[in-house]
Symmetry: C2
Subunit: 204 residues, 2 copies
Amino acid sequence: MPAAAPPTRPALRAKYDRRQQEVVATAARLFAERGYQATSMQDLTEATGLAAGGLYHYIGSKEQLLFRICDELLEPLLARAREIVAHPGSAEQHLHELMRAWLAHIEAHRHHMLVFAQERHVIEHEPQWREVRRQRKAFEKILDDVLARGEQDGTMTFADRGLTLHALLGMVNHTAQWLKPRGRLSAEQIADGYCDLLLRAGRT
Amino acid sequence: MPAAAPPTRPALRAKYDRRQQEVVATAARLFAERGYQATSMQDLTEATGLAAGGLYHYIGSKEQLLFRICDELLEPLLARAREIVAHPGSAEQHLHELMRAWLAHIEAHRHHMLVFAQERHVIEHEPQWREVRRQRKAFEKILDDVLARGEQDGTMTFADRGLTLHALLGMVNHTAQWLKPRGRLSAEQIADGYCDLLLRAGRT
DNA sequence: TCTAATTTCGAACGATCGTTCGGTACGTGC
DNA sequence: GCACGTACCGAACGATCGTTCGAAATTAGA
């Protein structure tokens, strides 16, 4: 049931990790395109070139594969967000940096984001997904804290901070659905645009 | 493959339609909670009280059921939107009315919205969903036209109208994921809040 | 009351699903 | 070169999937 134990010999461990991540990336793409449940293990064997047994050597189960996708998405993003707000800086500066990091992450993990959004019903309700939920909530709390700090020091004024946070989460999360690798706007421009929208509205 | 022909006798036709809509509503709830693919016909028979055969008497197929859910969501919303912009009024008034109608519709069709968002990959890519895509795009065009009118008559100024539209679609569509029937904010308050956010940002 | 349209049942179908496992081939370190 | 940890294969398994269909039950209209 757990994925096969990774090799103990360090020379092989690197190759194992690399191959595993290839599989996860391929799965993320297929899941994003066709849906998690609608993608069969057969689809994955064809896309990876591995046979069923070889696939299970790396993933353990289909659900663990989904878990890895979510973790690859949330863990580095949360770490980066914590790093940003740990440095000294104004609420406005932090918001700006958070948005840039966030949008850059979404651009680099579009498929992961789409899968995460698509499988929300699993992630939000099943007990074995508590840790993933916790990470999502922790990230959202960081954002909310920054907005609250902006309110307290008087640089931002929101009619309703809770609603503003929801609006922010909505527009950013939705971005993965229309962002194109070579589109008109870069992730940076989008981040700045959203930031501008929020700050213009939150300025008396 | 098509749903059973509806009864010709008008006395039964009403009952047939009512029962069918009950099934669609139940399915929308289950699909929203567990996902479309993850919900089995067995789940549906248990939730509706109908046996397999009875179910197929009303729906034709599982995919047609999904189609009905999307149609119940988009068709009335698009009709209402067209009605709103057909009446005379400023861009700002129309935007305000559109937002109120939209949010009210989302509140009344939360499950439909969640299913629609969840199954985006099917709807956006499969050829048999062209008509649904067309409806979605038509609605978004109405919104974009209103924003463009606001820009032209000088009442709104956006740094990037395309990005603003994406932001608007994102925040509103995302609303179905956190809106609670007896929550702190009513659909009307949320609509007004989003409108305020947009107009404050789009005012020089 | 009789009949034909309608509603519902539920066993059964073939297809496909995720997963397992015994086996083979390969590379590494001794 | 030997032995063992590792990589991968692919047929096969039981479970479950969406759907069908002939028959039974119910109802409406004459």
